[in-house]
Amino acid sequence: MSNAATFDTRTDTAIPVESPLAYSYRHSGAPRGSGYRLKLRERAMLGHLILRGGAIVLDEAVREVLGINLPGKPQALVQDASGERSIQWLSPDEWLVIVPGGEEFPLETQLRERLGDAHYAISDVSGGQTLLEISGEAARELLMKTVIYDVHPSNFPVGKGVTTVFAKATTIIRRPSEERWELVVRRSFADYCYRWLLDAGSEYGVNVEQ
């Protein structure tokens, strides 16, 4: 194992935690009701890790530890059978791993043990970003007027994820399944994106699940 200094960002101490959208729920509300065509859900406090290094070195370790193949193709997104853990290609030497909250530190430790002195970097970015889920029949329509990237199914099939501009904010847009889209946004941009989604979605009717 390398001698990089690591620490678990989730302590045992009982500190109240708030999702990046806690402020937004209080100030902008969370519309509910029936007759909506758009559904929003934040999946806060997940474990986000950035892996950097050579694909061959990382692939072996990731497959052993996580049981998922490292996507080698640009824009690829792979998930495990449960859909709880995913790895996304971000750049030729960079991947985003998202796992259920609390799993990221054990995973990082295991990867570091497995990778030893190889040339790589693992950064825990869980506190810096959050994941928003968009579903409903109007989800694609909303994305079409918000992002500069072509989200037509012919260009954006399931299992793809891109980093692009979402209403002026840098955002990762992923499509883990046919009906569901995911946005990985910066914590500091979460309120802006949330309010944009509420505003842009008002014509379809929005339902926010908390």
């Binding site: 750049s91 990237y149 980093t163 501009v165």
Partner: protein
């Protein structure tokens, strides 16, 4: 708007995702200590401003955040090719001068490229 092909992402993306970063293929003098002031100044401050084919460095700032090279025509703004860092361009000013398009442009403008 340009629609730029990122050689690392392997697809065309909106110009909004990119930033230009100046002239490409600038080589740092191997031995700065032995450079004359003029050579060092040339390397540091002076850039080409050609009329016609120009090689530029761009970065896919919002996408994969990799630097790559673009061969661009400064008159028509047409992007002729994009290629990864460390690679050499297949389209150069010398090669382009013989092409019909460049000839037409310089004829039209009445000046030498």
């Amino acid at each position: 708007m340009f629609y730029i092909y990122c050689p690392y992402c392997g697809e065309h993306r909106e110009e909004e995702e990119f930033h230009p970063k100046g002239q490409a293929h600038i080589e740092r003098p191997k031995n700065p200590e032995e450079c004359s002031d003029e050579e060092w100044g040339d390397y540091l401050f002076f850039r080409d401003n050609p009329r016609g084919v120009h090689h530029e460095m761009w970065v896919h700032a919002v996408g994969c955040r990799k630097f790559f090279n673009i061969t661009r025509h400064t008159v028509s703004y047409e992007i002729l090719e994009t290629y990864k860092m460390g690679e050499q361009p297949s389209i150069t000013a010398e090669g382009q001068n013989h092409s019909r398009e460049a000839a037409a442009v310089s004829h039209q403008e009445g000046v030498r490229a």
